[in-house]
């Protein structure tokens, strides 16, 4: 093994290990339990069947303008290879695992530039890529693994030596493709040319920027043409990001500067602590990361110039799922390792915080990682959420007509597993950084307008509960129960009042 590492096969071996772990992390959870995953696959189905880039599950199949197209395009290719859902999900799982393995390969290869000790960089990146939140991510049909491999590829090419026009163009293509996978790939379109510029390679900067914009241009044109094609009541779920940001307003965006977006990292180390201690841990973690970034600034400038706008955008964005940050775990682990090694050289002033942080990592994260891996806890949320949906979709398949239109809390999943058109049951808009329901009257009106025939919920609780309670208690029998399972899903016949 050591010979292989020395000869240059280390990154490939690391990629293979991550690929194996990612395959092992796959679950039998239904597609759509985390909402976005269902929508990606529903769009992929539309593409595979030649229906275009549309949200096929919604009545009227409006254009898809929220989720960039590259991941659904890849899934659509696999779907055409094996057009039997849900059996073909195994191919999607295989692709995601391969993408994560490839990302690890590239990141480890790129990390050679850091000149950190091989063991340190291998450990940091491999642990970062296989940390339990990453295992949760790769076990669900999210675009993160594909995004990560493209982003890592772009960074690796751009940080390389002897960057001519060809390599600049390659970096631009990869950055553009990353943006076509997740909109936040813009961070690469900003960071990569900037890195070239600061290194005095202005022509390369221009080439990379031009190519990245050209590659991502079809998506921007699509948004310009179809951005208004979404029902305003669905703008929060299905509208463009500008519509979404517009709802939040400037105040909503700036409110993110309280750095709650950094929570996913520090909560990963210590899940439950009083705020002052949590703040101290956060400061220590990010202090180390910053020290590491400064240490490596000359060696991997592109990486840092991509990470900064990425973290900035996530911080300001009004709705930031933890997974937006989790995919940075490998690089954060690398930077923290670099920072720790640097601080260690400062004598006791540096060594004490490093020892404390190491203890926190070992006790806080290490223990949870071991337990999570041993009990497959990283997959539990998806598996548990699948159970009521399995019953619900079975009930819908056999208990409703094929032309039924279902309002549900997992509309894409309902469509994928039952073939029935579906709309979201909980309609909301952003008020600052908070979600506010449109209320029972507006929702009922929307359901009637969409021709909804049934209402289905995976459990009688959550955001939709007040709405359901209101509709159920209305005197004109808006909802007639077909079945309700104790602590489980429920299916109602929906009738518009005259």
């Amino acid at each position: 093994m050591s010979r292989a590492l020395a000869r240059g096969h280390g990154p490939a071996i690391a990629g293979l290990v991550v690929f194996a772990v990612a395959l092992w992390a796959q679950t039998g959870a239904m597609v759509g339990v985390f909402y976005d995953d269902g929508i990606y696959v529903a769009i992929a189905k539309a593409l595979a069947e030649g229906r275009g880039l549309v949200s096929l599950h919604l009545p009227g199949a409006p254009p898809a303008v929220h989720y960039p197209p590259l991941y659904p395009v890849v899934l659509a290719g696999l779907w055409r290879l094996w057009p039997a859902f849900p059996a073909n999900v195994v191919l999607f799982q295989l692709f995601d695992a391969a993408a994560l393995g490839a990302a690890a390969w590239i990141m480890v290869h790129h990390a050679r530039r850091t000149a950190l000790p091989p063991l340190a960089r291998y450990l940091a990146l491999t642990i970062g890529v296989t940390a339990f939140p990453m295992l949760t991510l790769v076990g669900v049909r999210f675009s993160e693994p594909l995004f990560l491999v493209l982003l890592a590829g772009a960074v690796c090419v751009a940080d390389g030596d002897d960057v001519g026009r060809g390599k600049a163009a390659a970096a631009g293509v990869l950055a553009g493709l990353a943006t076509l996978t997740r909109s936040i790939g813009i961070a690469a379109i900003v960071g990569i040319p900037l890195a070239f510029w600061l290194r005095g390679r202005r022509r390369a900067a221009g080439v990379a920027l031009g190519v990245a914009l050209a590659v991502s241009a079809p998506w921007w044109l699509w948004l310009a043409a179809h951005g208004d094609g979404i029902d305003p009541l669905l703008a929060s779920n299905y509208g463009t990001y500008t519509q979404y940001a517009g709802q939040a307003g400037v105040v909503g965006l700036l409110a993110g500067l309280d750095f709650t977006s950094l929570q996913p990292f520090s909560r990963l180390l210590v899940p439950a602590l009083p705020t002052p201690i949590w703040l101290a841990v956060t400061a220590m973690v990010f202090g180390t990361v910053v020290v590491g970034a400064v240490t490596l600034a000359r060696r991997v400038p592109t990486l840092l110039l991509v990470l900064v706008p990425y973290v900035g955008m996530v911080t300001l964005w009004p709705f930031t799922p933890d997974r937006f940050m989790w995919i940075l775990l490998p690089w954060m682990a690398l930077l923290a390792t670099a920072g720790s090694l640097r601080a260690w050289q400062w004598g006791w002033w540096g060594r004490i915080p490093v020892l404390v942080l190491t203890m926190i990592v070992v006790v806080g994260f290490g223990w949870r990682q071991v337990v999570s891996v041993m009990d497959r806890q990283f997959a539990m949320t998806a598996d548990r959420a699948s159970r009521p949906f399995a019953l619900l979709t079975a009930g819908i398949r056999t208990g409703t007509p094929e032309n039924a239109i279902i309002a549900s809390d997992g509309e894409a999943m309902i469509y994928l597993y039952t073939g029935r058109s579906a709309v979201p049951l909980f309609l909301f808009k952003l008020d600052g950084r908070r979600m506010r329901s449109f209320g029972a009257d507006t929702t009922q009106h929307y359901l009637c307008r969409q021709g909804v025939t049934h209402v289905a919920t995976s459990w009688l609780g959550g955001d939709a509960l007040p709405l359901l309670d209101t509709l159920r208690t209305r005197g004109d029998s808006v909802l007639t129960p077909l079945f309700t399972v104790a602590d489980g899903p429920a299916l109602y016949r929906f009738r518009c009042p005259r």
Binding site: A20, A87, V90, G395, R397, T400, F483, A486, G488
Partner: protein
């Protein structure tokens, strides 16, 4: 003798010896896997079935995943319109190709004459008859061809002079490995065979092969993942009856004598069998003399492999490949669907073939060349005679079963297959006879008793049906087929109350089984059970089949017409099977709550 001539002579002999197989029709598993399998009846249906399990229709439970093999059947069917002679001809051609590749692999260590002898022994070895003369044996031929091709291309990769050539041979190796994996599960050993060849190859490699191993490992992992998703869940169901209810220790004790038999088959392949089920191979769950001997001889073979790594690497290669190729069906770590099958020894024949080839090469230049040549010719002719003599056994299903039964009357499994075969042709008396004998030969197998019980009922012999069903039930209760036949037999012999108890216990032990719930319903009707009980069973069946709305509606109707209190006492025990559904779907179902209270069952608990 040149390298090319050695290759062509061996391949030609391999093909000529098996030409008689072209006269064979469908036999054994050919019927289910090819003749009656719609997936193999055209190229397009074979492509459409690429992600389907190997066994079709009602045999799906047997699992496996061999899409490339199915694809070749689809191609054959398209070319020849389903005529079996073409399928056999392709098998013969593949055997010739595999033999040629064996010679090419052997040439790394042996001079052409030694490689030729290796190829000839491989070509005519009688153990190959099952793999070559029976169409479904193609999976073995394909995996051997692709695996040997992978070995040769990996050698080219290691010796390549430019990175471009290296990339080319890497691609060829990966394609060969992928096709080996998609031909049969044994393809999973390819990476290990490549490593063995790498270690033993006399030439010093020009390039590091780590990249190749990483790529092959990734491919193998990906295939294992897809295989697990498609066929993995069915693996346990395909366990051979000999291991049914046998502990891992007992399984190893049973297999140790089998390893001795494997070595005997490789060295002296004149006594052959198409099926090594009990009592051809008895189940021995304790240490036996023959088992100890098997352990010692197997250990000695492995020791020989280790000792010959330096002195005779070709011998080590042969033995290690034989061990690797036999390992997936050795029933040591995992249980397979066979105790021993000659077709699974296709690659293992490399061991005797390479040992003979090595021996001949050592003495060929000495004074006894003529004697050695005569001895070799004698062995090859003897093997060829036995092979040609054995080929017609696989001409049709009845010949195979009847001749095998005559050769091995102690084989219970042949009798079960014969019983099923004649039952399908309407002769249930003959079928019943065979199945009863099968049960007597190997009482541990519950499935012969299940089939016998069904045939006895079909013959109007309910008492016999009940005896056989009880025998199966005593052996194993947690199977829907056993619960069903016992329920039917009890009803047929006028014991509806006992039938109800059995069916209710089955419904409790096997929640969600349509077959058991149908039996439960029949028992209720036969015993004039209350209508509300039937409604509960129907609701449970609906629920199990995902018809949740129907299940809820049935329970709603029950709520409107609750059972009379006088009926409750006798129904308490039987209700347990329906409680989970009632609890989940209708927590406030008054009538059942009342039953639950009377029976002291927590049906209203959350």
């Amino acid at each position: 003798m040149t390298r090319g001539r050695a290759t062509w002579i061996a391949a030609a002999v391999a093909s000529v010896v098996y030409l008689l197989a072209v006269r064979n029709g469908w036999a054994g598993d050919d019927l289910v896997a090819i003749r009656d399998n719609p997936a193999t009846h055209s190229l397009s249906s074979a492509i459409a079935a690429w992600f389907e399990v190997y066994w079709p229709g009602e045999w799906r439970w047997a699992g496996l995943y061999r899409p490339f093999t199915i694809l070749t059947y689809g191609l054959d069917w398209t070319i020849a319109g389903g005529a079996p002679w073409w399928f056999h001809l392709v098998n013969v051609g593949l055997h010739g190709a595999a033999t040629a590749l064996v010679v090419r692999v052997a040439l790394a260590w042996l001079p052409p004459v030694g490689a030729l002898v290796t190829g000839l022994v491989f070509a005519v070895h009688p153990v190959h008859v099952e793999a070559v003369a029976n169409v479904v044996g193609r999976a073995e031929l394909l995996v051997a061809v692709w695996l040997l091709l992978a070995v040769l291309s990996a050698r080219r990769y290691r010796q390549a002079e430019s990175s471009r050539t290296r990339r080319w041979w890497l691609a060829v190796t990966l394609v060969a490995v992928a096709l080996a994996l998609c031909s049969k599960e044994h393809g999973v050993i390819t990476i290990a065979v490549l490593a063995v060849d790498h270690l033993l190859e006399p030439r010093r490699p020009r390039n590091s092969a780590t990249g190749l191993y990483v790529a092959v490992a990734a491919l193998t992992l990906a295939w294992l993942f897809v295989w697990q998703s498609i066929a993995g869940g069915l693996v346990g169901a395909g366990t051979h009856a000999a291991f049914f209810g046998v502990s891992p220790y007992g399984r190893v004790m049973t297999m140790l004598p089998v390893y001795l038999e494997v070595l005997r088959l490789l060295a002296w392949p004149f006594a052959l069998a198409s099926d090594y089920a009990p009592q051809v191979v008895p189940v021995r769950e304790t240490v036996t003399l023959v088992g100890t001997l098997g352990f010692l001889v197997t250990g000695a073979a492995l020791a020989l492999a280790v000792l010959s790594v330096r002195r005779a690497p070709v011998v080590a290669f042969g033995i290690l490949v034989a061990v690797l190729s036999y390992a997936p069906t050795a029933n040591l770590l995992v249980v397979s669907g066979v105790v021993l099958a000659e077709r699974n020894l296709y690659l293992a024949v490399l061991a005797p073939a390479l040992i003979v080839g090595w021996g001949v090469a050592r003495v060929w230049d000495g004074p006894r060349r003529r004697a050695v040549a005569v001895a070799c010719a004698g062995v090859v002719l003897l093997f060829a005679y036995r092979t040609v003599d054995r080929i017609p056994l696989w001409s049709d299903p009845l010949t195979l079963l009847v001749e095998e039964q005559a050769a091995h009357p102690e084989n219970f499994h042949t009798r079960v297959l014969l019983g099923e075969y004649v039952a399908a042709r309407g002769d249930s008396a003959w079928a019943l006879g065979e199945l009863l004998v099968a049960g007597a030969l190997f009482p541990a197998d519950p499935w012969a008793a299940v089939l016998a019980s069904r045939q006895a009922l079909a013959q109007g012999r309910p008492t016999l049906a009940l005896r056989e069903a009880r025998r199966a039930y005593r052996r194993y209760r947690s199977d829907a087929r056993i619960v069903e036949v016992l329920t039917n037999a009890l009803i047929a012999t006028g014991r509806p109350d006992s039938a109800l108890v059995v069916a209710a216990a089955g419904a409790r032990d096997l929640p969600g089984s349509e077959m058991v719930l149908a039996a439960y319903r029949r028992a209720l009707v036969a015993g004039a059970g209350a209508a509300w009980e039937a409604t509960l069973v129907d609701a449970t069946r609906d629920w199990s089949a995902g018809r949740v709305v129907s299940a809820a509606a049935r329970l709603d109707s029950l709520e409107r017409a609750p059972p009379a209190r006088a009926e409750l006492g006798a129904a308490c025990a039987r209700l347990a099977a329906t409680v989970p559904v009632v609890r989940a779907l209708q927590p406030r179902l008054a009538a059942v709550l009342e039953v639950g209270a009377a029976c002291d069952m927590p049906v209203n608990g959350r």
